[in-house]
Symmetry: C2
Subunit: 338 residues, 2 copies
């Protein structure tokens, strides 16, 4: 299951792009969509990696994903863009929105894009990093199918509703990317596949009973992270995205976990020009270094800053290769032959 080295990463990237192009994706769109899937694999986030490619290929074949569009953008105000994703590929619609925001953020200081009906945008860190490379701070949010129960509730009412925050510094940007569920549904599936129990507090079953049975949790609901606070944040994402994008609420969202329904979730990205504030890249870098070198909870360990782990895992994956289940490789190979 371990495949060796950077060359294999390059091969996977080429395979992914080829499969997408075979289904009508223009070269740039295929490269971009492949890049975000590969980047997730490199960082040890397989739930947002090539696992999602077969579903996407089917969605392209069935017209549920349109590889040619970057959506229809309307500036309803000089600093607020509403985008109908028009079933476009998530990364294509998002990067087009970021490029458009990027044109006006240096002028206005802040701008926002609210997107509905684009396909799955993948890991949010990708966009926070893109914004940081352009010199902008960013807040990114996305909604999804109902998987998470409210604090004090037991029904899946909310998406895993991730939030990312990116802030340029004088060296590596600060990149935070978190789902507002305690664990991702992928982790439940992983335990179910191996017949392992899940810890208490991760999920409830279909009837809303707390469970340690991973199989039962698959049809139940995930706990929010951090109790009432994480629930509140997830709900804030749900409402803010829907209010601005006009996208569906979680119980009605389709299209990111299936291969036969339209994508109806929403995404939001706010860009801010730190140069319009004070910027302070060097001061930020110095502070992050103080945090890293502050007293750890275990001697000899280093205190991590969000983004450190992903960068380190990425470097490791580039050196040693990506761990990819044979089943995914076989599915992709079948698509290649089709």
């Amino acid at each position: 299951m371990i495949h060796g080295g950077e060359r294999f990463v390059g091969e996977l990237r080429a395979l992914s792009a080829r499969l997408l192009m075979q289904r009508g994706a223009p070269y740039d769109a295929a490269q971009l969509q492949s890049d975000i899937l590969i980047e997730a694999e490199l960082r040890g986030l397989p739930s947002h990696g090539l696992l999602r490619l077969p579903r996407l290929l089917l969605r392209l074949e069935r017209g549920l994903a349109d590889p040619h569009t970057s959506g229809t953008a309307v500036w309803t105000r000089p600093a607020l863009m509403k985008v109908n994703g028009d079933a476009g590929l998530g990364p294509v619609v998002m990067m087009a929105a970021i490029r458009q925001l990027g044109q006006i953020v240096p002028k206005h200081g802040i701008a926002v894009a609210a997107i509905r009906d684009a396909n799955h945008i993948g890991m949010l860190a990708y966009y926070a990093e893109a914004a940081a490379r352009m010199g902008f701070a960013s807040i990114v949010m996305s909604t999804s199918e109902a998987l998470v129960h409210p604090y004090g509730g037991t029904q899946a009412m909310l998406g895993t509703n991730p939030i990312a925050v990116g802030i340029p510094t004088a060296d590596e940007p600060f990149i935070l990317d978190l789902a507002t569920s305690h664990v991702p549904m992928g982790k439940i599936h992983h335990h179910a596949l191996r017949g392992e129990a899940i810890p208490e507090g991760w999920a409830v079953d279909r009837e809303g009973r707390p469970t340690t049975d991973a199989e039962a949790a698959k049809t139940g609901a995930l706990a929010p992270f951090g109790g009432a606070k994480g629930y509140g944040l997830g709900l804030a994402v749900e409402l803010l995205v829907a209010a601005l994008a006009g996208s569906a609420f979680a119980p009605e969202v389709t299209g990111t976990l299936d291969d036969d329904q339209a994508a109806t979730k929403g995404d939001l990205i706010i860009l801010i020009d730190p140069a319009a504030g004070r910027g302070e890249g060097r001061r930020l870098s110095a502070f992050l270094q103080r945090v890293r070198t502050s007293r750890p909870s275990e001697p000899g360990r280093t205190v991590a800053v969000p983004g450190d782990g992903a960068r380190s895992r990425r470097a490791g994956s580039l050196a040693t290769g990506i761990e990819l289940p044979d089943e995914i490789m076989e599915r992709l190979a079948a698509f290649d032959a089709a």
Copy 2:
């Protein structure tokens, strides 16, 4: 310790305003500052209530708080305002910023104010509610003295760095207001005062050892909420505010817990005009009602939405009065005589 009814609330409000005016605060500033302290009491948030008034009165007497200024605002971009708080009263500076943002948000769709060196702004929900009354969605952040240790760390490196999100609906607005620490330092002091142990996981002592001794925790550091994710959010607040406002980082912040040093923390508020998106107030209200009536974890309980508890406690306090320690009343009486 229980005082009766709405009349007593009115008396407290008048007392607070009088004490502030005796120390030079203009009528409007005294009313506003008093209102936010009283509102915190009404919602059962005494850590942000009248407990803070004696310190503020001393800061006014010593010139560390200037009741006449609302800060110096500069629009560095058409939608980005930088404010030097000039040691103004926190609520006065914040509300002036919100009023200014409110002038341009309907035009631009989104705008942000980054504030440094204002005095303590109190509970963030107050500003999210003010923005919601104007019809705007808001994201509010504030930094503070170093009280919280990083996930994987044991030194107080971060403020309790609260975040609030306000979103207008067709009825009561959605108002989320959370500190990124697991519990507030006030709760530790409360336990210490009563000689009670604190639960494991709340705090570490001065040497960074996990502790259940509330007294030892007072000089230690608070845990972030929600593990690595809550830590990441707190750090994001720390960096975003500092990057845009140019305010101090937590270890250098002074002025919100003492009565003898300048206020050096930062605050950030983003306003968004939902009408520039789709608004969808009724759809939001209907979804929140679905969340409230979804299956609870305990039969007969109702699933709460952020803001519900505060509204309910507020109504209760208006009916039955505010619970205020005699010690605070005595301190305020002494100021009144002085």
